[in-house]
Symmetry: C3
Subunit: 346 residues, 3 copies
């Protein structure tokens, strides 16, 4: 995509200082921008970059007074940050998520339905009796099993796999390679030490505005539903086991794993590589720091947890501060022991 400085100024209802005919084809930070880039200056802490930037054009405030000459063209607007964010959203929409139409070959069962204004990439697959909404974007190699429902405006990136019976809300994003609805890890031990597979016939439900990261895995419920509630954001390579529930607007960072039947509250934050045991309940607004292992339910709201096994963040920081000096602690103890009890004669 390529626009002129003047075209962008018109969209932003800004005024141009400099050559409005120059072409711009990318957005960049002001300190990294090269020729052809559009950047912005919002926080005046970074004003010095304005006088050295190689950007073709910079969005600045209408009220900014220049202290030195600037080689870039300027677009003056009321709020540079808001204007730049609008361009970011436009750019992403245009370059990635704005695709429409059907590329052949694509597979859709005759019994499936899909709303208008959609994209179905080549080699995408939609199974029997699926009900897909309008404005849905389905990238190549996406697998959508039988009887799946997907709401309006949802985007499914390349090669995501959605097992049969899954229900996905509106305006969700499923990133590439994510697996939604795989069998829960349920095996009944037999007398001879082998395992018999417990059938997993539940499903996964994603409510509206949920985001699922690349190569994340979400198992279906044994019975009933694994549920990710409205607005929850799940990062790459996260594992959510069967019958897990994730509350509204909860954020789970990369490589975290949640064991079966655990219920996480609303507005929680789980940092990266956290592990949670099964059948726990985590109260609303719980925060768990990276690499922690949670083995107990948390009933009080707003708790901060750290460690493996996890306990209160402040206590954990204190314990870790001593941990590093354990050899010294042991030496001090030994010294006291020697003082208390003089060594035996040879």
């Amino acid at each position: 995509m390529e626009f002129t400085v003047g075209q962008i100024a018109e969209v932003l209802q800004g005024s141009v200082e400099g050559d409005a005919t120059q072409p711009v084809n990318r957005l960049a930070k002001i300190e990294e921008a090269r020729a052809g880039s559009l950047s912005f200056l919002s926080n005046l802490k970074y004003e010095h970059f304005l006088y050295t930037t190689q950007a073709t054009v910079v969005i600045v405030s209408r009220t900014l007074e220049l202290k030195k000459p600037v080689s870039a063209a300027l677009i003056r607007v009321d709020d540079p940050y808001t204007s730049f964010t609008a361009l970011l959203e436009f750019y992403q929409q245009a370059s990635r998520t704005g695709k429409r139409g059907v590329e052949e070959p694509a597979y859709m069962a005759a019994s499936a339905s899909i709303g208008g204004n959609h994209y179905r990439g080549a080699f995408s697959y939609i199974g029997e009796n699926c009900e897909i909404g309008a404005d849905v974007v389905i990238f190549p190699h996406v697998f959508i099993g039988d009887r799946v429902k997907i709401g309006d405006g949802t985007i499914v990136y390349a090669g995501a796999k959605i097992y049969a019976e899954t229900v996905i809300g509106q305006r969700c994003t499923v990133h590439a390679g994510a697996v939604i609805g795989s069998d829960g890890f349920g095996f009944a031990p037999q007398p001879d030490g082998s395992y018999r597979t417990i059938p997993q016939i539940g499903n996964v439900v994603l409510e509206d505005n949920v985001s699922i990261g690349a190569n994340a895995t979400i198992d279906c419920a044994t019975l009933g539903s694994t549920i990710i509630r409205e607005g929850a954001k799940i990062d790459n390579l996260v594992q959510l086991a069967h019958n897990v529930e994730v509350g509204r607007h909860t954020v789970i960072a990369s490589q975290t794993g949640v064991s079966g039947s655990t219920k996480i509250g609303d507005f929680c934050v789980l940092a990266g590589q956290v592990g949670m045991a099964g059948h726990l309940t985590l109260a609303n607004r719980t925060t768990v720091t990276a690499q922690s292992g949670v083995g107990k339910s948390i009933k009080q709201e707003g708790v901060l947890l750290q460690g493996s096994p996890a306990f209160g963040l402040r206590d954990s920081l204190r314990a870790n501060a001593i941990f590093r000096h354990l050899p010294e602690l042991e030496r001090r103890l030994r010294l006291l022991e020697q003082q208390a009890q003089p060594p035996e004669k040879p």
Copy 2:
């Protein structure tokens, strides 16, 4: 799928109390069941749910005596749990794994062979000289490289990738996005600090009744085979490196990683997010708790390990109990020091 209460009773050789013509289209727990659901009551601890459930029909024992009126229809059988499990297995088979036939376009090399009664989903790929058994289910977007062998009754879910030369036994399950046979992570350091890739020409062997989780990765051997023995169950996002061996009926939970050439015994249990160093041997019936890091071989059978680095579970629990109180321990030590040696004069 939809059946009447009467049809289900007939299959289960049970007797109906109530309206046998009602349709049923899902299975559910008795406390979560809604209209249209079939549920069961086995453990009498949950009998009170029978009198409030919204299920359309509940499977109960022939000998159950009702204490109150029940709105659901009943199917009376000898053993409600066994009957319900049979329905679960039937349901899963019918809805997911019972697909048969070929959806076009699907790719199979002319030199490959496949047994009868199979399913090959659209966009599935079978390479040269593959030998695939009967009753095999291959979902869309599955990649099967050249010279792969797969036994009867195995199911490969959407988008699993099986590299060339892999050997898979009978009645295995490979979940969506799993990668089997990728190159081992082998690089020889060069004098200039760069790395030269060591060719990885071995393969992966899955014996019978093995289950591989979604987006799990199993590297091929450098030479020889990475082997997953009979009945082993591997969860989502597990990493098994080159030349690893996993013993019979061993269970490995999600996000665990096993480094190169490590041999895990039979009937072991590795919980989630465990890490194992390379070139270790783990005796039969070893259990490793979640997030532990195993750095040494275990020769004695039946050991329980915890911690990173891992040692005996009981000792680990005790050490962790003290760890939390390290600040207090340090304070007590300081107090003793002060008592032993009065502060110097100012």
Copy 3:
């Protein structure tokens, strides 16, 4: 593939002792070799295997003097290890990475270009305005988004997903299921506790000779580029967040996660399951042991880190050695307390 002993000897410029007409179809370690295998003996520590091996043929040094009769044929060369490695590379090239031509159906946008001598597997997808080099191998189900650039000699295995705008250098390897260029995990908290998605419009750049493991995920930059520099090797299931930089010839083992904007130096080694916080800088030649959690920048080169939170390896080993004996430490402390302050009278 099958060759005769004589054909292999000719390629290696070696001389045959024994039956040169025997067929060989696999390479194996000398102690594991069966009929049909070719093996080698380089380290004389393993010479005893030569007299018991079931290999069809063994590559040995021209100068080796036999102490007992050998049933295998021999190929005598100057340097058995180098000759065997050459065969390994030839074998891998022939069996996996030497594919050429186009299998139908494959999708390539009319505006995309690709150099000569390439392979495009069935169901592979190449988007608009892509520029793909020569000698490139693209396995089935690979997704390459719009405007991606890929250098000569790069191999992309089955089902890897490369988002739009990604730039990949020469002779890179991307393993099956890897996702390159997914959205960074960026969400701006709103006053009501919900999150607004921050558009991620940057890209990912892989320089030359980079290797990416199976099902690894590399997020695009918010603005600018996530960069993996020349010769870096990234293992399976690794997560690299938005705007991360990985230095030249750095090795990152399986299941490690690096948070946003962290810069890792050249020649570093991160072992498996390591976690790194965001916005850190790691000096060249830093080594981090398995399962460690790095929360601070490291400015000095050549440091070894361990633990979660991580500190110097030697101090960490010492602290862990005491940690195991914390219960005993506490008992010793209690004893001193009792000595210092006799128990009160009953």
